[in-house]
């Protein structure tokens, strides 16, 4: 009996191989598309096209239209274990950058080595930013200003998923924000955002550590906890004599210590969608840095938001698209706390409310529209903005 099965199996594998030969003949386009799954190269991408129109007040306002992002993604499989992932981004049509460029090598089912230019695992949007996957035309400003997205740096580390425990982890050593590189880069308006090196001839004075752990064991729920630790980088350390105490003191005053903690949650059930995120950043040595830089960097930055949406087509089984009205409430402050003689600047403390609707025609295409109310603690009234957008991914 076993021999017969073996014989059948042998014949089967032969016929399957023969079928492979047949497949190279005439095929329709869908078969050809699926045949590409055997190709080691996968091409994808995403794009975000926006229209923003400030409203109200006693002045005229020009609207802006922008191909905010156009990204091409390439994934190349060298073999079963090794693949290279890269995302080439055009922002506002004429800024070219690379969002990701890393090697992923699978050592064990739950242990992958990763090295190269990688997305820092902090918050929801930094890693999950394809336009059809989030509500609202623009990314939340908490992610923009506090995280700060799209935050990607060079480094190496490990990541994996323990399916039995429903846990995903990431731990990488990366280069940090540049606080001084000929000019200073950190301040109150933009927090750490201008310190991102983005893989552009990055330099490292001291390594930084970034970690995230995510749990998805409860159906519909995904929670994450992130931690980022390290000092910022300064060119003043370069070629600095180890005996030069004054030089070292100056270099030390051009860096700050960053401890960033983030917690995020996503929940989706029966058409309801919830998101929440909280990020807290502690900056050590900001007082000395502000004396050195003549900037106004805070000693604590924070931001949080909650968001809720509902798919109006949830119960209509014949409709495959989703129509999702949503509302999001955000607060963020790059001057949550300040050190030394620096007074908190109330224009940095922001509150934003976004209310809108998204029509997800397929999981790859969304048309969006929303209205945003924004104010700082120094404003007496909200200013408004209309946003319309097209978001795609493929």
């Amino acid at each position: 009996m076993r021999l017969l099965i073996l014989l059948i199996a042998a014949v089967l594998s032969f016929t399957t191989a023969f079928a492979q030969e047949e497949l190279t003949g005439s095929k329709n386009s869908s078969e050809r598309l699926m045949q590409d799954e055997k190709s080691p190269l996968t091409i994808g991408g995403y794009a975000q096209i926006d229209f923003n129109q400030p409203t109200g007040g006693g002045s005229y306002h020009n609207g802006t239209l922008d191909v905010h992002r156009m990204v091409l993604l390439f994934n190349y499989k060298f073999n079963d274990r090794a693949q290279f992932v890269t995302e080439i981004e055009l922002e506002h049509v004429n800024e070219v950058t690379i969002e990701q460029a890393f090697l992923n090598y699978r050592i064990l089912p739950w242990l992958n080595f990763r090295g190269g230019l990688m997305l820092i695992p902090m918050g929801i949007i930094n890693e999950n930013h394809e336009p059809p996957t989030y509500n609202g035309v623009e990314r939340p400003n908490v992610d923009n200003k506090i995280v700060p997205t799209t935050w990607r740096e060079l480094g190496a580390g490990f990541t994996g998923v323990f399916n039995s425990a429903s846990v995903k982890y990431q731990v990488y050593v990366v280069n940090g924000f540049k606080s001084y590189a000929g000019v200073t880069h950190l301040n109150g308006t933009n927090g750490l955002r201008n310190g991102r090196q983005k893989g552009i001839e990055s330099f490292m004075s001291t390594p930084n550590l970034t970690t995230k752990i995510e749990y998805f064991g409860l159906p519909g729920l995904k929670v994450g906890l992130s931690g980022y630790f390290g000092n910022t980088q300064s060119t003043l350390y370069n070629n600095l004599d180890k005996e030069n105490a004054a030089g070292k003191a100056k270099a030390d005053s051009s860096v700050v210590g960053v401890t960033m903690l983030g917690v995020d949650a996503r929940y989706a059930k029966k058409g309801l969608e919830f998101r929440a995120q909280y990020v807290m950043t502690y900056i050590e040595n900001s007082a000395q840095y502000n004396i050195f830089s003549k900037n106004d960097l805070g000693s604590q930055l924070s931001g949080w938001y909650v968001e809720a949406g509902y798919n109006l087509f949830q119960t209509k089984s014949e409709i495959r698209s989703q129509l999702v009205p949503f509302v999001r409430y955000e607060q963020y402050d790059t001057h949550d706390k300040t050190a030394g003689n620096l007074l908190r600047n109330s224009t940095y403390e922001k509150t934003e409310i976004t209310a809108g609707i998204g029509w997800r025609i397929t999981h790859e295409l969304a048309l969006k529209g929303d209205y945003q109310w924004r104010k700082s603690a120094a404003d007496s009234r909200y200013s408004g903005q209309i946003n319309l957008g097209i978001g795609i991914m493929f």
Binding site: M1, I5, I8, L12, S13, T15, T16, A17, F18, A19, Q20, E22, L23, G25, K27, S30, E31, M34, Q35, E37, K38, T42, G44, L73, N75, K77, D80, R81, Q83, V85, N104, R106, N112, R114, E127, N128, T133, T159, V161, N163, S166, K168, F216, G217, P219, G220, L221, K222, R266, A268, K269, K270, G271, N311, Q314, S317, E318, R320, Q322, H363
Partner: protein
């Protein structure tokens, strides 16, 4: 049943259903899952053969590495389908085990190598497909959404629906 088998084989051989090469490691993983499902029963597998008619009629495409009928002592235990679906960055492999009446008994992910979307391998999520027999299947409604794995999850849901409808059609 014999006609069913005949239909499937010809369909595969003619290339309408793209059949890709099977690897021994995939069979090993599949057999392990089968042992768990059919505890202690000695299973024999017979590859199915298909007809020309099914070929041209089938407009819903999916990718399979093999469709087999399962027997224990000549009693049909159901069917085994090896599937390949696309995630965000690359494809993944899984099996669907059907009951003799073609309702889903089990779906198990055999290989998921990508760094994104691996959450769909969770048994808690895959359990939702048990009993599925060809009704319209809507991701997000009939099957819970998976945050961060939209591509793989949508792909799997779509392909499970396609292949189940296909199996039901050729069974008639």
């Amino acid at each position: 049943m014999k006609i069913f088998a005949a239909l499937l084989t010809i369909l595969i051989l003619s290339g309408a259903i793209p059949v890709q090469e099977m690897s021994p490691s995939l069979w090993k993983k599949a057999n392990k899952k089968l042992d768990l499902i059919f505890k202690d029963q000695i299973i024999t597998k017979r590859s199915l053969e298909l007809s020309e008619a099914e070929l041209t009629n089938n407009r819903k495409q999916f990718v399979t590495k093999g469709i087999y009928q399962l027997f224990c002592s000549n009693v049909s235990l159901g069917y085994l389908v090896f599937m390949t679906s696309m995630g965000r960055y690359e494809s993944f492999e899984y099996i669907i085990v059907y009951s003799p009446e073609l309702s889903v008994k089990s779906i198990d992910i055999l290989e998921y190598n990508s760094s994104h979307g691996g959450e769909i391998a969770s048994q808690k999520w895959l359990k939702q497909f048990v009993g599925y027999d060809g009704k319209p299947l809507k991701y997000g409604s009939d099957i819970d959404a998976v945050s961060g794995a939209t591509y793989s999850a949508t792909s799997l849901v779509k392909d499970v629906e396609s292949v189940t409808l296909f199996m039901k059609k050729i069974e008639k």
